[in-house]
């Protein structure tokens, strides 16, 4: 049997990788990908808690599904923003996208 802490440690490490990506990458799409990693880490810990604490209840799986919706909506809207910015500014480098009005 696998201890619960293993899953939590993997989830924590994945989350930290995501944090690093968000802080350190320059490309906006790469930052979005790092956010997806973080959301996955959250999902992983949600499902792990569900399995080990309350497998008879559905709350863990249901929340993981809602996180998935958020991830999809975030990816769709975020990437649309990035494409729109690229169209106007010819760049997706967040170092150069620092003005509130173009």
């Amino acid at each position: 049997m696998i201890p619960l802490t293993w899953y939590l440690l993997v989830a924590a490490a994945l989350f930290c990788i995501g944090v690093y990506g968000v802080l350190a990458r320059r490309n906006a799409i790469a930052i979005l990908m790092a956010i997806e990693l973080m959301l996955n880490a959250v999902n992983l810990s949600l499902v792990a808690f569900w399995r080990y604490l309350h497998p008879e209840r559905t709350v863990g799986q249901a929340f993981a599904l809602f996180v998935l919706v958020v991830a999809a909506a975030e990816a769709a809207a975020g990437l649309a923003l990035i494409i729109s910015i690229y169209r106007n500014r010819e760049t997706v480098d967040v170092e150069n996208i620092d003005l509130l009005r173009g």
Binding site: L65, A73, L79, I83
Partner: protein, 118 residues
């Protein structure tokens, strides 16, 4: 339950191995006569002009976007469909509301002309 997935994993690994084996066999059998001309991008014999990065239409992105959101909606439908036989009318109505909201999104895209290719 995990045992069923063990078979799935075995199957995936085995088919990957079989396909890889045919590639290895090919690697052993095929002739190797390199020639820089053979390595050019094939465009019906015409010399390649410009970059591979031709202009893409943002329209592709719009369709992918609608697809992603409808796929997410379909994912919610699956557990509902499995439980459907034990649910009452209220569940059908809730799902109908869920779907009609999305359909209105599709209609919005239609009205805005986001579904037109040209």
């Amino acid at each position: 339950m995990l045992s069923a997935y063990a078979v799935v994993a075995l199957y995936l690994l085995l088919s990957l191995a079989l396909l890889g084996a045919t590639l290895l066999l090919w690697w052993a059998l095929r002739p190797k006569k390199p020639n820089p001309l053979k390595l050019e991008a094939y465009e019906c014999g015409v010399q390649t002009v410009g970059d591979t990065w031709v202009q893409f239409r943002a329209q592709y992105y719009i369709f992918a976007l609608i697809f992603v959101l409808f796929d997410v909606e379909a994912v919610f439908l699956f557990p509902w469909a499995v439980a459907y036989n034990q649910l009452g009318l209220y569940a059908v109505i809730e799902m109908a509301l869920f779907l009609l909201l999305l359909l209105s999104g599709l209609l919005y895209a239609w009205r805005k002309g986001a579904l037109e290719w040209v």
